[in-house]
């Protein structure tokens, strides 16, 4: 039997198809219930005007009890945004993806939160410990124990 994750993801997918995505968010790829790709764009005036990013969601069978692993995709087409909470390998330091994850959130919910995180950014810069982190970072950002810098951004 499909686990709780696939049933919930099926629901989320259906919702996306029926209600559509919020502005600036697009589903790129949701062929299975293990990994989804979505594109993200900050609308209106912001530091990231005209830039399009892509997010990779990886789900465990316990989703939504366990948080999805979310990171920015880096390839020929997409780059990670330069942001104080985004490492150059695409990993994101955000409490909602770790300690403060809750099943109320959804794939779209995470996208919207990250969108507003980018939108409220005042200065484009990498996290101060970027080089050190990227050198030793695990493939899966969920394996990292982030120290959440601050909740304001």
């Amino acid at each position: 039997m499909a686990g709780i994750a696939s049933r919930r993801l099926q629901k989320e997918l259906k919702e996306i198809h029926t209600q559509g995505c919020p502005v600036g968010i697009q589903l790129l790829n949701a062929d299975n219930f293990e990994e989804w790709h979505l594109s993200l764009e900050v609308m209106g005036e912001s530091q990231y005007q005209g830039e399009v990013f892509a997010l990779k969601f990886r789900f465990e069978p316990q989703y939504p009890i366990s948080a999805p692993a979310v990171q920015f995709i880096i390839n020929e087409k997409y780059k990670a945004p330069v942001h104080p909470h985004v490492y150059s390998n695409g990993h994101i330091c955000a409490s909602i993806l770790g300690n403060e994850w809750s099943p109320v959130l959804s794939v779209i919910g995470v996208c919207v939160t990250l969108q507003s995180m980018l939108a409220s950014c005042k200065k484009k810069e990498r996290p101060p410990d970027n080089d050190r982190y990227v050198m030793h970072a695990p493939d899966n950002p969920k394996k990292t124990r982030f120290h959440y810098h601050d909740d304001t951004v």
């Binding site: 709780i4 049933r7 919930r8 629901k11 989320e12 316990q62 939504p64 009890i65 366990s66 770790g98 300690n99 403060e100 809750s102 099943p103 109320v104 959130l105 959804s106």
Partner: protein, 487 residues
């Protein structure tokens, strides 16, 4: 009307949507999706959930220490969930016991750990103190040792408990590159002993009466500024001065002996590097590298307890190194191998014994030379006990304040120059031991220099022996004058 006043509950909803699994349930189609659980509305907002989903979420969150705090809170409105469970007193009791045991386990662990640490530390302390006592006895000589310290810990002055265990540490450190700091650490150590009140030995019935003018019994009864041998405090500064002067001259002498051809004398270069190391070593970090003995490495030990560091500078052999290589090579490498550490510690701990043996040797020699006897200040063992009272003589209080200040500072000056009475009037074993130690250092330096010089000569005189082409057919060789083939 009664219906309207009733506050609606979760079962009054037309559509129930579980915020965790996102399953929906229409009020008119219950169990439509073979559902498993009752519905709950646990908080103050509109979220509802399957009880089973919610319990699963709470359980998972509670298992994660970082999330446990918020496990029972609604993620949306923050209201606290109320859990009801079959929680009989027995379970609660057992939980409390478990908690207590966990805490107890932690305490036991901490106690164990600290016991081990304390045991190790106190063992080290006892051994160090015993060694310090031995060192003092070797260095001071029996008579002064019995007068100042004695074997009985009950009589020790307070600072002995700190100074005695410091002795082995100081000796070892004095041979590392931390020389400068140890010197400053040693000075208070010796000064406290030089001016400390001696231990009163029990049942010493023979006292020498103190003269009336002797207001301070501790101060030596000595006229003039200088006495020979100098008092212990003065001796420390003399020792330091003589030491640095000797070091400077000795290094120059080493260069003179070894450095006749600077580019080709590895030993000379090593000296320089050694010197550089010495200059920097005090402030710089101690580069400690445990390495197996490197083939071809010749070690040169730092001079013994003159307080020099012990550096095994890595020798890079090769007769044809030029000045450039030397420039590139000026990174000092203090190399400590396991055997060199053993030599360092062993050598350091031998210092008191060596100095005692050398002092005894000097004493023997002084039996045949009155000049040496005078130089060493040899005195016969005291036939009468030295009476030292701790009280200031009452006559002192009869003086005017100005006189008090003068006599007091005069007494302090005398203690600094001559040492306390015990140091001044007893046979100065410590002085001949110090001189002996100095002589030993010089002898050892000479031996090392000689060793380095011989090594260098060996290196310079090397050449490879050449042999004739015996056993090879001469026709295979391309000779200037081919040999005629004789048939």
């Amino acid at each position: 009307m009664a219906e309207a006043a009733r506050v609606p509950g979760v079962d009054d909803l037309r559509v129930k949507l579980c915020y965790i699994c996102r399953e929906e349930e229409q009020y008119d189609q219950p169990e439509s999706q073979q559902n498993k659980s009752v519905w709950v509305h646990p908080c103050n907002c509109t979220l509802v959930a399957h009880e089973s989903c919610l319990l699963e979420w709470i359980k998972t969150a509670q298992q994660n220490p970082a999330r446990a705090e918020n496990a029972l809170k609604c993620p949306q409105c923050g209201a606290e969930y109320e859990l009801e469970s079959n929680n009989p007193p027995l379970l609660r009791l057992m939980e409390a016991v478990n908690k207590l045991l966990t805490m107890g386990g932690r305490i036991v662990m901490a106690v164990n750990l600290s016991t081990v640490l304390v045991a190790f530390g106190s063992g080290l302390y006892v051994v160090s103190t015993a060694y310090g006592l031995h060192a003092m006895q070797e260095f001071l000589g029996k008579e002064m040792f019995d007068h100042l310290i004695t074997d009985d810990p009950g009589k020790w002055p307070l600072h002995a408990w700190f100074n005695l265990p410091m002795i082995p540490l100081t000796l070892i450190l004095s041979r590392t590159s931390l020389t400068e700091t140890t010197l400053t650490a040693t000075i208070p150590l010796f000064i406290t002993w030089a001016i400390t009140k001696p231990v009163q030995t029990d049942g010493a019935p023979l006292f020498r009466p103190a003269p009336d003018t002797d207001y301070f019994p501790l101060a030596p009864n000595q006229e003039g500024f200088l006495s020979w041998p100098p008092g212990p405090v003065l001796s420390i500064f003399l020792w330091l001065g003589v030491k640095s002067l000797y070091r400077r001259c000795w290094n120059r002498f080493c260069h003179y002996v070894l450095d006749t051809q600077p580019a080709r004398a590895p030993d000379g270069r090593r000296m320089r590097r050694f010197l550089w190391d010495f200059d920097e070593g005090g402030a710089g970090p101690l580069r400690l590298r445990i390495a197996a003995n490197v083939l071809g490495e010749r070690r040169r030990e730092g001079q013994v307890q003159a307080g020099q560091q012990h550096a095994d500078a890595q020798q890079r052999d090769g007769g044809n190194e030029d000045g450039d290589a030397e420039e590139n090579d000026n990174q000092p490498t203090a190399r400590y191998t396991s055997s060199s550490i053993g030599r360092l510690i062993g050598g350091a701990l031998m210092i008191p014994t060596i100095s005692n043996r050398m002092g005894t040797l000097l004493y023997r020699l002084s039996q045949h030379s009155s000049l040496l006897r005078k130089f060493l200040g040899v005195k016969p063992p005291m036939s009468v006990g030295l009476r030292i009272t701790s009280a200031i003589s009452p006559a002192f209080y009869k003086l005017t304040p100005a006189q008090q200040v003068t006599t007091f500072s005069w007494a302090v000056l005398r203690v600094i120059m001559h040492g306390t009475r015990s140091w001044n009037e007893m046979d100065p074993v410590w002085f001949r031991n110090t001189i002996g130690l100095g002589l030993f250092v010089v002898a050892k330096d000479c031996a090392e220099l000689f060793y380095a010089w011989l090594s260098k000569r060996e290196l310079e005189s090397r050449h490879v022996k050449t042999r004739p082409f015996r056993g090879i057919d001469a026709r295979e060789l391309d000779l200037i004058r081919p040999q005629r083939i004789t048939t």
